[in-house]
């Protein structure tokens, strides 16, 4: 088996907001088809990591590589068109537009509206029933489904999900992660960010713990999950 070029790789990446550094040298690599879970507490720098990977934040040091090409200075819209799909924290939708009009927004990369509707509605039938409803009046889970249908509709090559489970009931979270697992089975490379490991255990191949802007542990999701729980319960990380 020859070494495959990682889909996404961070090499000593430092980044932050203004003069404040948030990431202090982040290193990790995601192989093609891999599902990588990045776990960690509030303020660890998970969302910032995704911001860097999607081109919204320019790193101050280190390299961000996609398919072996450095993309430190590539613009986010160009990366999105190439196939980097970020489903942001909270909701990545327009609440004042209807479900249909939100789906229409996903035509930016040239996929036809009818294709997008078909893919989204077959994955999430609940959205079809609510197609003329204002997206802001959907339940939290339905909004997340709508946000995720961008990933299903636009055929990305790298998918990044920021706290899909935030504020949602476990049953809905399980349903969303079922879709993620299907995407993973189709060979898509996925970076999942979560605070808690439970929801990603069934999906992730590899998990990492991020703390204070750097990655502290990488390993089997089940093992990492236990360490993380212990750390949240106050045992802390032994260096």
């Amino acid at each position: 088996m020859d070494e495959q070029v990682p889909v996404l790789e961070f090499l000593g990446v430092r980044a932050g907001y203004g003069s404040i550094d948030v990431l202090h040298g982040v290193d990790f690599a995601i192989a093609p088809g891999q599902v990588y879970a990045l776990l960690g507490p509030n303020g660890a720098g998970k969302t910032t990591t995704l911001g860097v990977a999607s081109g919204q934040i320019t790193p101050s040091a280190g390299s961000v590589m996609i398919m072996g090409t450095e993309i430190n200075h590539v613009r986010p819209d160009a990366l999105a068109r190439a196939g980097v799909c970020l489903v942001p924290e909270g909701r990545g939708i327009f609440p004042n537009l209807t479900v249909n009009d939100n789906l229409r927004m996903f035509t930016f990369d040239g996929t036809s509206f009818s294709d997008i509707k078909e893919r989204a509605f077959s994955q999430f039938p609940r959205l079809a029933e609510r197609r003329s409803q204002l997206a802001g009046t959907l339940s939290g889970g339905e909004q997340q489904m709508l946000s995720m249908s961008r990933a299903l509709a636009t055929n990305p090559a790298l998918l990044m999900l920021d706290e899909l489970s935030m504020g949602l009931a476990p049953l809905i979270v399980a349903e969303l992660y079922e879709r993620v697992a299907e995407l993973a089975d189709s060979g898509l490379s996925i970076l999942i960010v979560e605070q808690f490991a439970q929801s990603v255990l069934g999906v992730a191949d590899t998990a990492a713990i991020m703390l204070h802007g750097s990655i502290q542990r990488v390993g089997d999701p089940a093992v990492i999950a236990e360490e993380l729980t212990a750390a949240y319960l106050g045992a802390g990380f032994d260096e």
Binding site: G33, M67, V74, R75, A78, N96, S186
Partner: protein, 134 residues
């Protein structure tokens, strides 16, 4: 684990992706047609202004100052100068149109995003208020 997962279709998409990202790195994703458009517009306006001023004032002034007796030659020269000046004016108009189109879209886009953003905040407040009622 990842090897048997990446099937043929997935591999094709990956190759495509690698190719596109490589192109982006060369251009920095910065190939910006709007910027180019507005710069071309400005250049056209400058060239147009120079041409108009040159042919309508400088050349025409030279002509009347030259005081030759060849009336026909002078007439032809004057007509030519007028035509070049008109072409200069046309360049100014085209340049201005290009510039306005390309600089305004950028501004309008920011405006649209701003509006969507405010609308979103408003919708949030509205939904909150409605939820609080019941």
């Amino acid at each position: 684990m990842s090897d048997d997962k990446t099937n043929a279709a997935g591999q094709k998409r990956l190759d495509e992706f690698a190719e596109e990202v490589k192109d982006l790195n060369v251009s920095g994703g910065l190939a910006n047609p709007e910027r180019t458009g507005s710069i071309v517009g400005i250049v056209l306006m400058v060239i147009g202004t120079i041409a108009t001023v040159f042919y309508s004032i400088v050349k025409q002034g030279d002509l009347s100052a030259s005081g030759t007796d060849d009336q026909l030659h002078e007439l032809i020269q004057a007509t030519n100068n007028t035509w070049f000046a008109i072409w200069g004016l046309a360049l100014i108009v085209i340049g201005a149109a290009l510039w306005i189109r390309n600089s305004l879209t950028r501004y309008l886009r920011y405006w649209l995003i701003r509006m969507i953003y405010e609308d979103r905040a408003n919708t949030d407040r509205l939904i909150e208020a409605l939820r609080d009622r019941d």
